[in-house]
Each structure stands twice: as C-alpha cells, then as structure tokens.
C-alpha cells in the first residue's frame, strides 16, 4: 500500500453542518482514511487530514475542494488566521512508497484542475515554480483582502487558473512537502541562553543540519529549558542526528538531557531511521514490521 497524505485548510470553521458535510464527503471515497479534522471558530477555518493511495487522495481532495467552493463565499469570511481563499492551502505529503516527485506531479495536476474551475492557483514548497513562492507566508501576504490588488502585479501571475480576482472563492495555494516532525529535547537546566545557543547551532539557518528549524524555549513550570525543533525532511535529517548533537553540546556544559518528545503524528519511517542508527543496522526496513505487512494487504 502506497500512502499519500493531504491536509487541506478550508475557510469554514463555524458552521458545523457544512464542516460535517465536507468531512463525510472525504470519508465516502474508497480507500481514503480521514485521520483527523479540526475546526477553529475564531480562525473560521478547518483542517482535514486524510491519507491513502495517491489516486484516491487526488479524487477525494478535488471533490472536497469543489464542495468547499460551493459552500463558502469569501466576501462574508472573517477570521483570525491568514488566508487567501475558500480552499486556502492544499499540501500533498508523501508518507510511504511515494516519492516527492510524484507528490509534486499530483499537486500540479490538482492545481491545474482547480485552476480550470476559475480559481487562481499558486504552487508552494516543493511544488513551487519560482523561489519567491516557496514559502507560504510570502504568497499569502496581503491575504484575501489584498488579493485583487496583488493579482494586478505581473509578478503574481498565478501558476494555474485565471489571472484575475475571483471574489467568491479567492485563490488557492497548492504544494508538496515532506511530513513535518515536531521534536523537542528538554535540558536539565534553567539556562535559557544555553537552549538558545544549541538551537542556533542545530538549525539550518545558522549553519546547522539541513531541514531543521529550532528555537530555545523556557519551560517555566517544569523549571527546565527546551530545544524545540521542526524537522521538515526527516529523510535528510532524522531524530537521532539532532538528539545526539544536542546531547553532545549540552554535555560540554555539564548539562544532561531530561527527556525528549515528538509532538503529533510521525510516519513509521522515522522509527526506521531510529533503529537503523542506534543498532548499527543500516538495512533495517519497516517491511520487517508485522503491522506494515498488514497494511500491504490493502
């Protein structure tokens, strides 16, 4: 079984009937598992997380987008979260047996199909066509309210769809990215400066590990500090590399690791990397896991 994840962010977080309708629509697709969906009334926004074979996911997210465009009128939308359109952001995330190249192709095909329905489309992250469109915040700058003006700028010609404003639906940002691993390492010290110093050394921006974002955080209640990280491509930099690096850096100052934690869900591939690293076992594969074999039955 090949697994592609899709996490569309939809600009409807208040009308429970509409949200349920959207969720039920996703579930109806054979082979698609809706792992989670959550809504925020203040943000007026819902996030759907579903997973399955790439073809099934492509169908499910297109139906969802069509339904959302039908239900949502951006002229009436107000919420605390930055957004450009009714179907605001659609990332495709390869989880297992799917290469990034394929996820990008699917993002492009989805964007093209949605563009044909009159929605301006911008591709971001791995699916981006220009460096300045790689980051979501820069595409979304100005939000829905500034979109009509933004689209007049030739530099903001959409990647797909019409080069004019769609007042009802806004625009959609479509992309492909690796699954994000949110990983924190706690240090047995109150020394926030140390956590910040290590965060700086570990993060890519300041010369550290590829695809690592990091910051030092004060966990006041626990009386310790934390190096809080996002690993945005665990195949390039996985948990053991940052854990061992932080351990070494902390030890130089006589500080021990108090513990570590993963926030949210991870692909099994993260565990594969942990076993490979710590057991001197580079050939280890999740295909040796009974539960994985069960999934392959599907």
């Amino acid at each position: 079984m090949r697994l592609l994840e899709c996490v569309p962010n939809i600009s409807e977080g208040r009308d429970q009937d509409k949200i349920t309708l959207l969720a039920e629509g996703v579930k109806k697709h054979r082979g698609v598992r809706l792992l989670d969906f959550s809504s925020d009334k203040d943000h007026h926004r819902s996030v759907f997380t579903f997973i399955g074979e790439p073809e099934a996911i492509k169908d499910a997210v297109f139906s969802l987008a069509m339904q959302a465009i039908d239900l949502i009128d951006m002229r009436e939308h107000q919420g605390g979260h930055p957004r450009l359109g009714a179907v605001d952001v659609v990332p495709f995330i390869p989880i297992q047996g799917v290469e990034m190249e394929e996820a990008i192709q699917i993002a492009h095909a989805f964007g093209k199909a949605l563009g044909k329905r009159g929605i301006p489309i911008f591709f971001y992250e791995e699916a981006s066509t220009q460096p300045e469109r790689k980051d979501l915040p820069s595409i979304r700058r100005g939000e829905y309210e500034g979109l009509e003006e933004k689209l007049k700028d030739p530099e903001w010609k959409p990647d797909e769809g019409p080069h004019h404003f769609n007042p009802r639906s806004g625009a959609t940002v479509v992309g492909a990215r690796f699954p994000l691993v949110a990983y924190n390492v706690n240090l047995e010290t109150k020394d926030l400066a140390l956590a910040r110093e290590i965060a700086k050394k570990v993060r890519f921006k300041d010369g550290g590990f590829p695809h690592v974002r990091a910051m030092g955080v004060d966990l006041k209640e626990k009386g310790i500090v934390q190096v809080s990280m996002n690993l945005t491509n665990y195949r390039a930099t996985n948990i053991p590399e940052v854990y061992e690096f932080i351990r070494g850096e902390a030890l130089k100052k006589g500080v021990e690791i108090e513990g570590s934690e993963i926030v949210g869900l991870i692909p099994m591939g993260v565990l594969e990397g942990i076993a490979q690293n710590y057991l001197k076992y580079p050939q280890f594969s999740i295909r040796q896991v009974i539960e994985q074999r069960i999934l392959e039955f599907e």
Copy 2:
C-alpha cells in the same frame, strides 16, 4: 484494531493441493490476513502465519484444524520434524492491543473445542497447566509413534480431549506465547570464545536477562563472530538492553560491534521500545505513528 497472531504447524508438507486448500480456507475468513505460509517436503510439514482480531483468528484456526484433521492421516505420515499429530502445534501470539491473559483464554477455548472432536490436547508455554508441560520438546518427546504408550501414563493425561490414542489424528499442542524476536549482534573479531562468553552472560539460563536465549556463532565467511539471540518476551527484555550490554562487554576487550540484524518479522512494539530507550522518551507510543492510525480504522 486488535491483533492476535496464530502460527499453526500442520503435518502436511508434500501435497500442494491440500496445502493450498488449507491456505485458501484461512484467507476466506473476513478480517484474517494470511501473512505467510511455507511447506517443507522433508519435514512433511507446513507453517501458516495469520493475524487479525482475536475472534476472527479463533474461527479461522478452528476451521483450519477441522480441515487438516479431515485431510491428514497420521498413520501414513513420515517426516524429519518432531510431531505428535495432524494439527501438531497451535500457538496464539498477542501482537497489539491483546493481553497475554486473553491469548491464554483463547488457547484454552480452542483446545477445549478441538478436544471435543476427539483429539487429545496438551497446553504449553504461557497456556500450560503444569510446569513440565511448559516446553514443547518435553510434550513432544516420543513423537506420534510413542503417543499411544505415553497416553497410558496418568501423568500424561491430556489437558482437554480424550485420554486415549487417536491413531488418525494424534494429539495437538496448543499454547500462547509472546512474539519471538530473533536478533543478532555481530562483533568485529574472529574470537569465537568472546562471542560465547558474552552469549553466556546475556542469556537467562546463566543469570542474564529474562526471556533471552543466546549463543556464540562463528560467521566464517564474514570473518567475524556473532551473538545470536532469541528474545522470547520483548516487553520484558527488548533489543536496546541486550545491544547495549553486548556493546559494553565487547568494549571491555577492545572489540566494536560490527552491526546487528533482526531476523524475520517483529511487532511495531519493538520499535516503540527502541525509541523510548534511546530518546529518553518513556511515554512514546506507536499510537503516534500515522500507519498505526490507519490500522485502527479497520
């Protein structure tokens, strides 16, 4: 999804039509996945590995046993592998979400049902009712050919079924056990005595870790030696404990670990233990794994 595994050993390894019939019979059960089946002509024996919800597994293995008893006449059976009956050994193995207590109950219920069909039943391993029936070899001693005599001994009154010989079907050994983790650690040395010495220290029999069997092996082709282990209850002693112990013992003699390997399939719970140990993360759970969430949809 709760997962119970069953690995019946059936005394038919030559007639491909019969073996296929048995395998197809297992597959027909809804929710049962036949992960593997293999036959050995010399042993005249087949091993079926299937997994699923406990209730489904109970039904599937009972059908399989009935069919095997119908197809096999032990009076005509000859093979290299020790055996007592047509349905020779039936272990139930809790993989996920199933406690050992429940696996034992299922083993007992299955044994009772099969006993009612005229087959003497002995319970072994965790399902055993007496210490001298814990080990399979002691129950199987004398094999099918000695069974008529063995059953005359009051000490060998079966746990279920008739206390007399069934010439056509022999007897069946039914049990519950944890999944076996076959794990080897290779040492960067030709010193077989060192591997043997470490194996002795690590194995339970000689005062080492609970539920660990171990021996030293000469890997002549590779020019190194190996500590070859079976972890018979990975929840009590998991891979990191033996790996780190062996690493420490080898280092005392200035020897490094060359690498390690898992033979066959493991439950995801083994990886859970590896992450918990190496990342100082005792709360880590496989419920944080995306693929696990997909399984829970079933």
